[in-house]
């Protein structure tokens, strides 16, 4: 029995006169990992930002769990964002706080948990991802891979129902990509719903339940990874995949 936790219906978004999303439809089922692939500028990042309300849409709906419409003017986005976490390409850790404070800030201030409880939870999460020794460090002292894993933990500490990953390995040294992808794998294994924009095709093939190929602001082709990577139907998909280094 599967249930749709996120339903994107006909979302349009343009910046000035430049259309980025042109009627995107996307359904995400609970506990699944959906991977968005496509060329830079195909709208992957914009779609993710529209899903948790960091960008407003021009038209269309984003329905969370069958009841909340993220795009509605009446929706409290602060509440939506507690339920949908996002991790960015550039980590965006808070440089003036220790790793522990970065993670504990939102649970403490937004969920109203005590300082001690938030810190305790942060420590448990750090240990789960092998970063317990870094809890007192400032972000500048972390490698890119460590920083990105801390960013993942920071989003995870809010116990979101869905996690969005926006090309989280694109800024990393190739040697550090693995540790971050392993963290995502671990989340997927734990049953979290994941929507991820990435250029890591091997990873997508490995972990995704669904792969969506975005082209010019629409989902051009969608299916299980074996089908998208094995026998893509659309010529644009074939062309995109053939250009990738293998």
């Amino acid at each position: 029995m599967t249930s749709t936790i996120l339903d994107v219906r006909g979302v349009w978004k343009s910046f000035d006169d430049h259309p980025v999303l042109r009627g995107i439809d996307l359904e995400v089922e609970a506990h699944q990992a959906v991977v968005l692939i496509g060329a830079s500028g195909s709208g992957k990042s914009t779609l993710l930002r529209c899903i948790n309300g960091l960008e407003t849409v021009d038209a269309g709906d984003v329905i969370l769990d069958g009841d909340v419409d993220v795009t509605s003017f009446d929706t409290d986005l602060d509440i939506v964002r507690r339920r949908i976490g996002i991790v960015f390409q550039s980590y965006n850790l808070f440089p003036h706080m220790t790793v522990l404070d970065n993670i504990a800030l939102a649970p403490c201030k937004v969920l109203g948990r005590g300082r001690a409880e938030s810190a305790e939870q942060a420590k448990v999460l750090l240990a789960r991802f092998g970063l317990e020794s870094k809890s007192g460090e400032y972000p500048d002292r972390l490698s890119g891979g460590q920083a990105q894993r801390v960013a993942i933990i920071r989003a995870l500490a809010m116990e979101p129902e869905i996690m969005l990953f926006d090309e989280i390995t694109s800024a990393l040294d190739p040697l550090l990509v693995g540790e971050v992808l392993d963290a995502v794998r671990e989340l997927k294994a734990g049953g979290l719903t994941i929507v991820m924009a990435t250029h890591e095709m091997t990873f997508a093939r490995d972990v995704a339940d669904q792969v969506c190929f975005l082209h010019d602001g629409v989902v051009l082709e969608q299916g299980p990874p074996a089908q998208i990577f094995g026998e893509p139907m659309q010529p644009q998909t074939q062309q995109f995949l053939s250009r990738l280094p293998h």
């Binding site: 948790n52 960091l54 986005l77 602060d78 509440i79 964002r81 507690r82 976490g85 996002i86 960015f88 550039s90 965006n92 850790l93 808070f94 440089p95 003036h96 800030l105 939102a106 201030k109 937004v110 460090e137 400032y138 500048d140 002292r141 920071r154 989003a155 809010m158």
Partner: protein, 289 residues
Amino acid sequence: MSGLAPAPGEAVVYVDPARRARVRGRARRDALVGMASLLGFVLVVSVIVSSSPGWAAVQETFFNGQEFISTFPGLLDAFWLNVRIFLVAEPLILVIGLLVALARTLQSPIFLPIRVVATLYVDIFRGVPTILVIFLLGFGIPALRLQGMPKDAVFWGTAALVLSYGAYVAEVFRAGIDSVHPSQRMAARSLGLSMFQTNRHVVLPQAVRNVVPPLLNDFISLQKDTALVAVLGPIEVLRRAQIDASSSFNYTPYVGAALIFIALTIPMTRFADWIQSRSRGRRRAGGTS
């Protein structure tokens, strides 16, 4: 060439001794040349000044030892008023500056009046020379003879400094807020923090850190500008020096007053430089906090 091949993983620093000697020799020579050049410069300037036709008269009027000794304690006494003005004004300036800067970042349309007032305040008080503000407040408001309004010149002089500097410091804070990358705000909001929480915990701490050096610079400037309050009449150090000078027709008290200011601002300037170089060094080293 040396046969000392370092073992793999061993940390070895090797500098050719001949090169090291060359580098050290050059550094020593540079220091000597600098010293000699400085001495030569001082010598030339002193010769030019002391051989000028009016030097004897200037020395008598501005650098009179007797006059200095007799007036300096009085100047120091009067300087205490400058210090008090500074100590009262500075915290108020910081508070006003921060509030005005924050007011200008408010986005909701309901806050339009606050935003307009804040913008007008900054535009006006940055545009009017501080000494004019002191005149206008110091002579204007007491002349209104409003019930309960203080008539004290020190009060209005300090208020004028606070208003004038508050506008500058507001702009410094605003620049600091702008210097925090938008992605920080986005990251905070994406965690569900409200606009207020985002400002309070993420944006402002970084903004304030970024503007410490320019703020110190404004502090130094304010220390000097406490002397402007003299135009209203209270006997602070400049006014004291004026009185002394006009009773003896000797300007040495002015030099004494200048020395007192310098004695306070130079350490402050060095401190500001140190803070600035330290924060630069940290950023470069990718250091903590």
